[in-house]
Amino acid sequence: MSPSTAMPESPLAAAPVLDATGSEPSLDWPDGEYSVSVAGARGQWQVQHNISGADGITDLIEAGDAMFAAEARCPRTLFSHLALSQSPSMELHFDESMTREPVFVVPGIVAVADCDLSTAEAAVIWRRVGFTVPVKRGMWLARGRAVKEDLASSLLLVEIVDFLDDHEMSIRPYGDQDGNTRLQLRIPASQQPRLSQEAFIAQAWQTALAYLPSCDAFDLDSEAGTSNFFAAELEAKLSGMALWKDRAQWDPVRAATRLRGMPLPAPHEEQT
């Protein structure tokens, strides 16, 4: 078991997976399709699975050997909870007090018993004698992309302060207890009603992102990569764009509107 000894043969056999996590369609099930929608927050999630073209998997679900699943995971507290359902429409509930952000919801279809999976419709490499492969309990037969709380709701914090004049606002980096840095928009109480205005929020995002090039905590040039969760998340969300480390090319307005689109005016507003 140690790195200094010979590696043992894996005790876990492989089986075809209907994988919806990558950009390519699953190669194991050429005609199979799996999609999943996940909605919710704060320990209450609704998960809708859709599967077609992979009768081997749906047969196992009907036989009770596989189930639709959604796992809630919190790396911060090492919390894991798996919800199982025979129905493609399911709910995932867990005690929010057991978690601290980020919480991941990982959907899929999982084998709940050791069984044989029919591979008659699977890719040719899986069509063995008898057209079945053994599947071990716990194996993901279909996998959806992990979902976590939307970055846009947590990168920018708002604080009401009493030291600013009515017309003033301020922004500063805000380090949390994990050592991650967010941005904190500080506004006077008189501006608080504007927090319900989408245009105000969009403008706040543009201003906040314009601040990134001068914020050390969002430095992307470190050899080891950034250790700031929010900087890494932002980098991933804005892939394809010039980032803030390139001051000349950094476009905070475009970045803000990619993260959170600027609302279009309603028709009656356009006329005025």
Binding site: L78, F79, M139, Q177
Partner: protein, 302 residues
Amino acid sequence: MDTCRNLPAGAWRSYSDWLQTVVAKNRRTDTIPPAERAATQQQFLAAASTSANALAATLRQALNCADGRSMEIRPLTRPLTAADVWSPHVDWETMLHESLSSPGDSPVTTRAEAAQVLFWAACSVAWLEAGSLGNPPAGLLTKKSSAPLVNADPNTLDDDERLLLDDASRDMLRGLGGIPHVRSGHNNVLLDSAMARAWWRVDIARQAESSSNGELSFDDCYAAFLPSGCWRAWTTTAMTRAGRLSPGQCAAGFAAAITNHQQRHSEWPNQKQAAEMASNIVRRSAAYYPGMLDYRTLAQLA
């Protein structure tokens, strides 16, 4: 979360600002003048060298709760000593876990709380005021003696003296819960603070024991997480990788693999070996929900 237990709203912001006045993220790029930084550190170290109550008062000020309110933290069933803190041991680490987790007047500690720097700062205040962390507490929080420098004129300190003050301050702040602006990441609390490390180690060893259906004893699981390299490897791997090692079976599998290594080689794996074992479990079980696998299967994957 900006607060916890009975601390006021905004306690984290206040405490975080204070932490940054005591130590810089990086000594070389510190923008605060050296004499000013040293003076702040002298003040902090002087409180810790004077008495438990003096340090508790400093922390209360930093937490913005100098009003004497209760921290709502359960007392320890026996005081900790410097020997305890510098030599992790099942006796006192279990005592600390049981003190925080047994029924009583204050809420039972959850992992969500125990993952917060603020929670351990609140524990520090409560236990300092109860006389459970030594009096004065300085020797329990750092091995570096800075006593001769605490009353010196900060303008006359040389670089080595300022370095000693800085090292001692960092040690103490780590012991009180951690310095997230210096060490970031999900596992910073579990590595920085001896008290937090004790609680988490016992909690994870208990989870591993129960996930092995009683085949692994608590003592065996605890022993596997005790070597600092194994603990660091486990927390670093488990608290990254999107939490894939969260199910208790993974902790049990890792403990079994560590124990097996120790039995075969008559020594605990070093940090690199332990990290490789944890990574192997993540990688080789990727096609599975590990919570449905037997811990022995996961141990074989290591």
